[in-house]
């Protein structure tokens, strides 16, 4: 069955004076998938998203939303089909959760009932709490609830878990998974590779306004992350670090941690363990793992996603 195109972008460009915030990117998002733009801060993800949400105008390129060509803002009839979770979500002070949801529900000609939304975002027990009294995680759940008010087909989420604690982040992930299971299309931006790995059907890695890689998580790993990573806690001085680098070449040191790239795992492991034995170095928590998106991003750009 042919997939239904929800959003199509061709050669999108946006400049701020001399800075190319978005530099000729193209992609297509299909119904029911979680599409992720992954990249570090300043990569151009938010600018791309703001163009798609109608908050900014693009300089060049074509945007088709639900098959409609978009040039000067998004018409209200299309906004009815879109839900948005901005990076920074603030609402009118002094209103309660339920009043806020009712306000936004009032902007749509049809949509979910308030009780349904409260249940989806698990805010039933906070419905009469003023928005300014909500915790960060609760506020983010409210933002998702507000985005769901019009029962949209497409939901834009700009770094929806930034600044949340692990539990709150996990709650938001579960919510996104549920939305996907209910047939919603989700356009996500994030700089958390775990988030992209956990949620995405399709990932576009973005840096300096350009798409530098794309594919499903597995496709990306297959294409760029064929090696394994040996990771261990290791207390060594600078001399020993230099020595290990001379022996194994592709070695990186973190805070009391060492990362060894292994294209031939048994061989690399043997060399490493022989060196540990010879130098009587204490090793803790030795693990071998497959390359992840963080490693791939590092390989592609020479920088970490969190830089």
């Amino acid at each position: 069955m042919e997939k239904e195109s929800i959003l199509k972008v061709k050669n999108l460009k946006k400049h701020y004076h001399d800075v190319k915030a978005v530099d000729g990117i193209s992609f297509e998002v299909f119904k029911g998938e979680v599409f992720t733009l992954l990249g570090p801060n300043g990569a151009g993800k938010t600018t791309t998203l703001e163009i798609l949400e109608g908050l900014k105008k693009h300089d060049e390129g074509d945007v088709f939303l639900f098959g409609t060509y978009i040039k000067n803002g998004i018409p209200l009839s299309l906004k009815e089909k879109i839900g948005v979770v901005l990076q920074e979500n603030n609402f009118i002070d002094h209103l309660s959760v339920v009043e806020t949801l009712k306000t936004f529900r009032g902007f749509y000609s049809s949509g979910l009932r308030i009780e349904e939304i409260l249940k989806i975002v698990s805010l039933e027990d906070k419905k009469n709490t003023k928005v300014e009294k909500l915790s960060g995680g609760q506020r983010q759940r409210l933002a998702i609830g507000v985005a769901l008010a019009g029962n949209p087909d497409l939901i834009f989420m700009d770094e929806p878990t930034t600044g949340l604690d692990p539990q709150a982040r996990r709650n938001v992930w579960d919510m996104i998974v549920n939305l996907k299971e209910n047939g919603k299309t989700i356009f996500l931006t994030t700089h958390y590779m775990e988030e992209a790995e956990f949620l995405s059907d399709y990932i576009y890695i973005m840096d300096h306004g350009k798409i530098i890689a794309r594919g499903s998580v597995q496709e990306l790993i297959n294409a760029f992350g064929e090696e394994r990573i040996i990771e261990a806690h290791l207390d060594v001085d600078e001399n020993l670090k230099g020595e290990l680098k001379e022996i194994l070449h592709e070695v990186e040191f973190g805070k009391s941690k060492v990362f060894l790239k292994a294209y031939d795992l048994p061989k690399t492991m043997k060399i490493f363990l022989d060196w540990v034995e010879k130098r009587k170095v204490e090793v803790r928590d030795l693990i071998v793992r497959q390359s992840n998106l963080e490693d791939i991003f590092l390989k592609l750009t020479g920088r970490s996603l969190r830089d």
Partner: protein, 388 residues
């Protein structure tokens, strides 16, 4: 319409649930009205009365027995411009025609009392002193306005002058000397009342305050907190937001007007509330609203917006003729006062609510605020930035 109503409902609920907004928009104007009315009502009434004398006496003029002249001279001395006299204006005349003019002025509130010395006053006083048979008692008639504090003060002054006359010439107690006839007049239109003056001024102040602070806040704080940005990714337009916000502020302003009028009337204000005066109040609302848009347009942040709104608010409050008349202020201040829209709005409202205190014609009371509003609205539409 549904979208505009949702904005209206949200902003109104937020205002009603915000104690600070409620205090400054609803409670503060009423407190100010109560405080100013209680402090200044009496002060205003205790000074500066205006008196007219009609000396109709034709007997013993310019003789040693010109008693009428003694009374008029005493009053003229009292009215000497030494800055301390309670009589700010004394008009004298001798004809019945002049009496007609003075009585009209008294009715119109332009003077506070008229004293008339009867035609054969001197001869009758002379007869009384020399104990000759009297065909009638000498009579001094004092005309005053009914229920007028300033008229009562003027009467007291005239009464004290006559008492002094009785003691000096007749050596008799007042009640046995010159007959004092008091005639009351009802003022045309309305007498000047500070509570009336203040109530209308407070209405204009309150409406200006809601516009300056309410609209500025709805635009700048919501812009700064990126609430506007969140709203505009939903299916609403900027027109929906501006209309909803304006309606919310208008509702608050109507509540304000009602409460201020109730308080003013409870304090004794006599105000004409009819379709015309209500229409003018709506005009005040409409013409002050652009001030909020203007402040939001020239301010980069909510803090600077608040500071500018405060400066404008003080300027309008104290120079705009809201609490005190501005026709007797120094020239420079007068120029400033008559440049401000609030002076005209307050004047117009006072004239239409039956308070005979408008120093400017009605067309100016409409045109000047309208010109200010048009300029500010034009500037706001051109310059306001919806995003920071």
């Amino acid at each position: 319409m549904k979208r505009t109503f949702s904005v209206f409902k949200a902003l109104t609920t937020a205002s009603v649930k915000n104690p600070s907004a409620l205090f400054w928009m609803i409670v503060f104007p009423i407190l100010l009205l109560l405080i100013l009315a209680s402090v200044f009502s009496n002060v205003q009434k205790s000074v500066n009365v205006r008196i007219a004398i009609v000396n109709e006496n034709t007997t013993f003029r310019r003789t040693n027995f010109d008693f009428a002249s003694y009374i008029t001279t005493t009053l003229e001395k009292m009215a000497h411009k030494d800055g301390k006299s309670p009589i700010s204006c004394l008009k004298s005349a001798t004809t019945t025609k002049a009496l007609g003019i003075f009585l009209k002025d008294l009715k119109d509130g332009k003077i506070d009392a008229v004293m008339v010395i009867s035609k054969d006053f001197n001869s009758l006083v002379y007869a009384k002193i020399t104990k000759l048979p009297l065909k009638a008692d000498p009579i001094v008639t004092i005309y005053k306005r009914r229920n007028s504090q300033s008229s009562n003060i003027a009467f007291s002054i005239l009464d004290s002058v006559l008492s002094s006359f009785n003691k000096k010439f007749l050596k008799m107690k007042k009640e046995h000397a010159i007959s004092l006839e008091i005639k009351y007049l009802t003022q045309n239109g309305k007498k000047f009342s500070y509570v009336d003056f203040l109530t209308t001024g407070i209405i204009v102040m309150a409406l200006m305050t809601v516009s300056l602070f309410g609209i500025t806040d709805d635009l700048l704080v919501q812009r700064e907190k990126k609430v506007l940005r969140r709203l505009f990714v939903s299916p609403i337009t900027k027109i929906n937001y501006v209309l909803g916000m304006s309606l919310s502020n208008i509702l608050l302003e109507l509540i304000q007007i009602t409460l201020i009028l109730i308080t003013g009337i409870a304090l004794g204000a006599h105000l004409k509330i009819d379709a015309i005066s209500i229409s003018f109040m709506l005009f005040v609302i409409a013409s002050t609203m652009p001030f909020g848009f203007f402040v939001a347009s020239i301010s980069k942040s909510a803090n600077s917006g608040n500071a500018i709104a405060n400066i404008l608010n003080f300027l309008f409050m104290f120079l705009g003729g809201l609490f005190f008349p501005v026709n007797n202020v120094p020239f420079i201040v007068k120029i400033m006062a008559y440049s401000l829209p609030t002076t005209y709005l307050a004047n117009g409202l006072r004239a239409l609510m039956g308070i005979s205190y408008s120093t400017t014609p009605l067309y100016l009371n409409i045109f000047v605020p309208l010109a200010w509003a048009a300029f500010m609205l034009f500037y706001s539409v051109k310059k306001f930035k919806w995003e920071v």
